[in-house]
């Protein structure tokens, strides 16, 4: 009961954030000099009457608030406008790219957190041993390197030298499976995923790992851990208990991490030539394709806000104290 109340409150917060985000994006793109009639028609001079006619046609002569209401209404029905560059509805261009991005992002975030928590727990439990010191340093090295550099090194090694994995992209054109496992439905995408996911995990894993390790070292000294030992819990059960409690700060961080991962995503997509929303964003800005750029910015921001909501809900679920 308390949980649903908490969930409803958090969902309301998220809705307000999204509306504010929308207003902010709208204003930001209105600040760009000129209006779509000048941008769309390049440098060529258009007769004043024709410009005026276009403005009326597109509703640009109406007050800003009316334009915003129309924009927001269209957005709700999935109408994000037309791309200047592709001359197709924005949604048709952005949607598949967003899915591609999620295909890459989801395993990066999930594997980073799972590996970080497992390894962080393992290291924290062995606090003070030599292996713990070495492990912590090893985990921090890739964290200090830029993600594109790691990506390039992985490509040079495993794609160019060893030829184990494809050089980039998401699918191979005309891929003909030769063995039974190559016939598995997502085999081609999966082998394209390995290197970018590895690069993403290497850079993203260190933070959850170090947070889990530190939290675990603190939790180990809590009274309830001594009590758990007194109750005769097995070492495995004790460690599970410590991991479960130490995980809470990692969860808090994972909301921030998702934001960072979206940022790093742009670099990852460029290095690995992944047809995702990050690359689309970079391209649309340089092509001055404002409807597409606006849509990608908004979708990315909306994705971060939504994931934050999910993290908060998970927190309420995992820590009963927060539901109050």
């Amino acid at each position: 009961m308390a949980f649903w109340l908490y969930a409803a409150r958090r969902a309301a917060h998220t809705a307000v954030t999204l509306v504010l985000l929308l207003v902010f994006m709208y204003v930001l793109f209105r600040l760009v000099p000129g209006d779509p009639t000048t941008i769309m028609l390049g440098t060529g001079e258009l007769p004043f009457e024709a410009q005026q006619r276009l403005r009326e046609l597109w509703g640009l002569d109406r007050p800003q608030w009316q334009q915003f209401v129309t924009y927001a209404g269209n957005l709700l029905t999935g109408d994000l406008g037309m791309s200047f560059y592709f001359r197709r509805p924005v949604i048709e261009i952005v949607w598949p790219m967003l899915l591609n991005t999620l295909v890459l992002m989801t395993p990066v975030v999930v594997i980073s957190i799972v590996l970080g928590v497992v390894i962080g727990t393992w290291l924290g439990w062995r606090r003070g041993e030599r292996i713990e010191e070495i492990g912590a340093i090893l985990a921090l090295i890739p964290r200090a390197l830029p993600v594109f550099w790691i990506g390039i090194v992985l490509l040079a090694l495993f794609a160019y030298e060893l030829r184990w994995f494809p050089i980039g992209g998401m699918r191979q054109a005309f891929f003909f499976p030769e063995t039974w496992y190559q016939e598995l439905p997502f085999f081609d995408v999966a082998r394209h995923l390995v290197l970018p996911v590895a690069a993403g995990v290497l850079t993203s894993m260190a933070d959850p790992l170090m947070i889990q390790r530190t939290a675990l070292i603190e939790v180990k000294h809590e009274d309830f851990m001594t009590h758990a030992r007194a109750r005769g819990l097995t070492e495995r059960a004790q460690r599970r208990l410590a991991r479960r409690t130490a995980f809470l700060p990692v969860l808090t961080y994972s909301a921030i991490m998702v934001g960072f991962a979206f940022g790093g995503q742009v670099l990852l997509e460029v290095v690995f030539n992944w047809p995702g929303i990050g690359r689309l964003m970079v391209n649309s800005v340089s092509q001055r394709d404002y409807p597409v750029a606006q849509a990608t910015f908004f979708l990315m921001a909306a994705a971060v806000v939504t994931l934050n909501l999910l993290v908060d809900l998970a927190y309420g679920w995992l820590d009963p104290r927060i539901r109050q």
């Binding site: 000294h221 809590e222 009274d223 309830f224 001594t226 009590h227 758990a228 030992r229 007194a230 109750r231 005769g232 819990l233 097995t234 059960a237 208990l241 479960r244 409690t245 809470l248 995992l318 820590d319 009963p320 104290r321």
Partner: protein, 333 residues
């Protein structure tokens, strides 16, 4: 039941080793009750943890042995020790707030404990409900989380959890600290009932000599990790032989003598990283003589089952007379 033989415990602190407990010998018979009293930092809680073989990694049993039902806990393999815990000896810690797992419901904590000793969840639920009734808690509370309960409810739940396997020894470390007086009373009554009705042996740790006098047939007064005086509770508190016990007694209100003023013992317990040469209490003792500062008195057993570690135990009666004067305690130190 529980026997501590010449137990010494050393903590490895950054500033050097700290002798938290030195040469403590205690004996708790089956169904018996023993109180450990003393100021904070006198080694009470360390002894409680040692009795359960739960010392933290930085603490080490440097000499002596802890025996539970004749078995030396230090020589038992970890797996055997684990099975002994909670089935034979249980523990009620100082703060139920911190000792309960914050993210699990009470039911889950009962089930996890049960599972560690091969008891099924269904059986654990049934037993938990019965124990909750025993400690006068509504079994519906089992599905609550620790933070949703009051301090008194948490401490009762803690006691119920300790009784899960019907242990023969219960170690209670200041179980009433932080509770208001009414709830304190309820918890003490509950512990007394458990002792008389269930025949539980109780090792009770407290700085409150009134509570110890009520709950325990025997008492050991600790100071600076050493036993100063021990014996039957009523004898020790009515006719203390050690100046420290006399001082402790004056530091608590006495319901039989409400006109007596409360007098604290001036000074602080010694730093255990650099213990004094002679009697550890000498620097604060109003009766201290040069001998006391140079030579450690040994714990000498008397004819009535009492033991005292004081050079002037023979003059105890005269000292008791002088100790009645509140001005004496102010003048010391």
């Amino acid at each position: 039941m529980l026997a501590l033989d010449d137990v010494s415990i050393i903590y490895a602190a950054r500033s050097g080793p700290v002798q938290a407990v030195s040469g403590v010998t205690l004996h708790l018979p089956v169904g018996g009750s023993l109180g450990l009293v003393g100021e904070s930092g006198c080694g009470k809680s360390t002894l409680a943890l040692a009795a359960l073989s739960l010392l933290p990694p930085e603490a080490r049993l440097s000499s002596g042995a802890v025996r539970l039902e004749g078995q030396d806990l230090a020589t038992l393999p970890e797996a055997k020790l684990r099975r002994l815990r909670w089935t034979r000896m249980a523990y009620v810690p100082q703060s139920a707030q911190n000792a309960l797992v914050p993210v699990h419901s009470l039911r889950r904590q009962f089930r996890d404990t049960a599972a560690a000793h091969g008891m099924r969840s269904a059986a654990a639920d049934e037993r938990a409900a019965a124990l909750f009734q025993r400690v006068e808690l509504d079994p519906a509370i089992l599905d609550r989380f620790p933070h949703e309960l009051s301090g008194g409810m948490r401490q009762r739940a803690m006691i119920a959890l300790a009784l899960l396997f019907g242990p023969s020894l219960l170690v209670a470390d200041e179980p009433t600290t932080g509770l208001d007086v009414i709830v304190q009373r309820q918890v003490i009554d509950l512990l007394r009932d458990l002792r008389t009705e269930d025949g539980l042996a109780l090792l009770f740790i407290s700085h409150d000599i009134g509570v110890v006098a009520e709950l325990c047939s025997h008492v050991a007064v600790l100071y600076a990790g050493k036993v100063m005086e021990s014996g039957a509770t009523d004898r020790v508190f009515s006719l203390p032989n050690h100046p420290y016990t006399m001082g402790l007694q004056r530091a608590f209100p006495d319901i039989r003598h409400p006109e007596r003023s409360i007098v604290s013992i001036a000074g602080h317990p010694p730093r255990l990283s650099a213990p004094p040469q002679g009697c550890p209490f000498a620097p604060r003792c109003p009766f201290a003589q040069p001998l006391c500062h140079n030579t450690v008195p040994s714990l000498v057993a008397g004819p009535d089952g009492r033991a005292v570690a004081c050079h002037f135990a023979a003059d105890a009666e005269a000292l008791r007379d002088r100790a009645r004067d509140p001005a004496l305690w102010d003048a010391a130190a």
